[in-house]
Symmetry: C2
Subunit: 441 residues, 2 copies
């Protein structure tokens, strides 16, 4: 059943798709509801770098005129695009004064794919500068406006959590999808590295950068993964929690876990056990202990290369931390960098084998609840999986003592994205109904 | 001494730099000579995708007005840019009808860096479609117009060999710098993967794509490597051939070497020995035997991802081979791809250690002389080094029985680009003076 007109914005993309098919909803009516929500909430949440209501409504009207048999799988679905991903009809500013007034107009490969499927590219979501620094944009956590939504995909996470749009694209080089998804209490999926083209996306580190998805339901993640042709070698089976084996992984970074994270991971393990699953704490070989350090060494020396041209021509417009990476990255020895890159590469098949023993492995998404202020949080539980190239999905459902959401990551081996979605399809609703935290937005 | 006015186009970039400093040459006079050369030769060689003489002359005039103390290290040096690298003031068409009339205007990071150093971005050089197929553009080998200049950086190699410009940029994913440099009898340098930013360059395969340089002297390669901040951990010493140790590496692909390549490699080994160097044939462990296959599996499955958006929206404008890669790449199992990527990654530190035992390793650049026609040649001696991320320099100097140039590659371990340039500085002139092949252009 359709929600009352004033609350259409609460629909997920999959629900919108059903209603559009049934014919009891138009794209225009839906996007007008989203625009009203944005009008009411954006002054507080500040999720957007660019939204043009006239462009959105005109596209919605065009989409409504497409005959049903010519409609794509994402027909009429509004998607927010992180402002480091190029779009031909909107500016792309990377939250940097260097790109103020930029006229670079092209569609990133992902944007082309989404438009072809009938999606409505809704606007550009706020990002930490160049998706490469720890200070966020002005965006606020919609659950508590004093707090960060996480970063660097800050606007994508906040806009989805606050019902501005059902789906948004983000990018992750350290923890920029999973962390903001967790802080904002939504689903966030980082697919296997390399599965989705980076063409037309601002480079941070080519060996780490991954495009991912924010949504409020697993069905919506699934829709996007299918559009992006994420495929497993073996068509995955549905998961039955009762016969599943879950690994609980605290990692060498566990000392950074705050009580909210410690309790949520414990509660999740108990909940799964109570459902009949086998749940076992696992530890990784000591080779994995330096993985966070290696990810950081790789990323920062890569930033020294990818931001060298900005450093040369517009140093006065770069934030201090990027200047530091260029200057320090150039002082790093290459042997440090090669050791980091080669060591990570050596561990990728090792972790694949370990992960293949479990239905999925559960691990923290963040150190705790979203901190107060503009620091987007420590990605220490995310860098492992970015470096190792595995798919990760953040599941919402648990919460901390401050009333904010705490996400948990499920992880599996590379190119088992569809399998991981099957796991999320069972665990997501379970955690959301039994985890104890619910969005009050 | 300055050549007579009508032959200024023969100067190398380093020579031009000296004359501009001395004040007996203007940028305008120099580029007018290049433009005359192009006017005479381009109808035969077809090296260019875009040249705008008015834009070039106006930039030359502006550069001539820059006061000496404000001039960059590349002041007034014309550089050709492969037409898969974006430029803000010229179209970038990737030799594809998909990008005909394209208005995407941005400067790739490398272009920004070159402009900042005072270079004159001269025009766009012809490329095989999307730098991703084996059929070249219309470009001809300037030494024999019935033959390919190699590819995919066809125009960059031909334009430098034919004295249209002193320096050009290319890209290599399999053998697209080293092979055309060898076929055209010029220097070609593929730096260590990751040393130069790929921002603003069309993606083929992020883990393989490398930007590199074509020039007619080692000094010119050096100038560019310095501008791009290629640095070794240890400042390299000059090389004395007499005390050097060279490895001769035929690789598991040696059966593809034609007599021209077999004889050139033998002649080079003898020449080095005659100069007092230690020269030793080396063989790699059998783990390396499948490296070419793994590179191909990685590249083609990556192309399936990077060209998926074109396949969806403009399949009728894609060449059959790219359609095939998208369709076949999607049928490849991910476990094949992961095995290829992980196996290559495992061998990178192994080859670094092996290469570190030698001043440099000499290996073929191509199977033989440039073939007749439009097929750009088999990259079977290049894929190793692209996959392994090591720097490679093609040295001209030898020739085959058909009178065409045969290049040889020198290789060293990752991030020893400056060391490799020191080796090229000694071996390049030696091979050019004693190798038996000279350009008659």
């Amino acid at each position: 059943m359709l929600p009352r007109e004033s609350e259409l914005y609460r629909l997920t993309a999959s629900e919108v798709t059903n209603h559009l098919r049934l014919g009891d909803l138009t794209v225009e009516a839906y996007v007008r509801s989203l625009l009203s929500r944005i009008e009411a909430r954006e002054p507080l949440v500040k999720a957007w770098a660019y939204v043009d209501p006239a462009l959105i409504i005109s596209q919605a009207q065009q989409l409504d005129q497409v005959p049903p048999h010519l409609r794509g799988l994402l027909h009429g679905i509004p998607i927010g695009v992180k402002d480091v991903i190029y779009t031909i009809d909107m500016p792309t500013k990377h939250n940097s004064p260097i790109h103020e007034g930029s006229e670079t107009r092209l569609d990133a490969a992902v944007v082309t794919i989404l438009r072809k499927a009938g999606a409505l590219i809704f606007g550009k979501t706020a990002t930490a500068q160049f998706a490469a620094i720890h200070d966020g944009p002005a965006t606020r956590n919609p659950h508590d406006l004093t707090r960060t939504p996480g970063g660097s995909s800050s606007g994508s996470a906040a806009a989805v959590a606050d019902f501005h749009i059902p789906i948004a694209l983000g990018t992750q080089t350290a923890g920029s999808i999973v962390r903001p998804a967790a802080f904002c209490g939504v689903y966030g999926m980082k697919p296997t590295w390399g599965a989705v083209s980076l063409e037309g996306v601002k480079l941070v580190s080519g060996i780490l950068d991954t495009i991912g998805i924010f949504a409020r339901s697993v069905e919506d993640l699934q829709l996007m993964a299918d559009i992006f042709q994420c495929r497993d070698d073996i068509i995955p089976q549905s998961i039955d929690i009762k016969t599943s084996r879950f690994g609980i992984l605290k990692t060498a970074m566990w000392k950074h876990a705050q009580p909210a994270t410690v309790k949520s991971l414990e509660a999740a393990a108990q909940l799964l056990e109570s459902q009949g699953a086998s749940v076992k704490e696992i530890t990784l070989p000591s080779d994995f202990n330096d993985l966070h350090l290696w990810q950081q060494q790789t990323m920062y020396t890569d930033i020294a290369v990818t931001h060298y041209s900005n450093y040369l021509t517009a140093k006065d417009k770069l934030p201090a931390s990027l200047i530091g990476h260029v200057e320090n990255g150039q002082r790093h020895t290459h042997s440090t960098k090669l050791n980091a890159m080669d060591s990570i590469a050596r561990l990728r098949p090792v972790i694949d084998e370990i992960l293949s023993r479990y239905t999925a492995v559960l691990t923290p998404s963040t150190t705790g609840e979203a901190p107060v202020g503009f620091y987007t949080g420590y990605p220490v539980f995310n860098t492992f999986w970015t470096a190792l190239h595995t798919p990760v999905i953040n599941l919402p459902g648990f919460g901390g003592q401050e009333g904010l959401p705490v996400g948990l990551s499920i992880v599996t081996s590379r190119y088992r994205d569809q399998h991981l979605l099957k796991v999320a399809k069972e665990l997501g609703p379970l955690f959301q109904s039994r985890g104890g935290w619910q969005s009050s937005l």
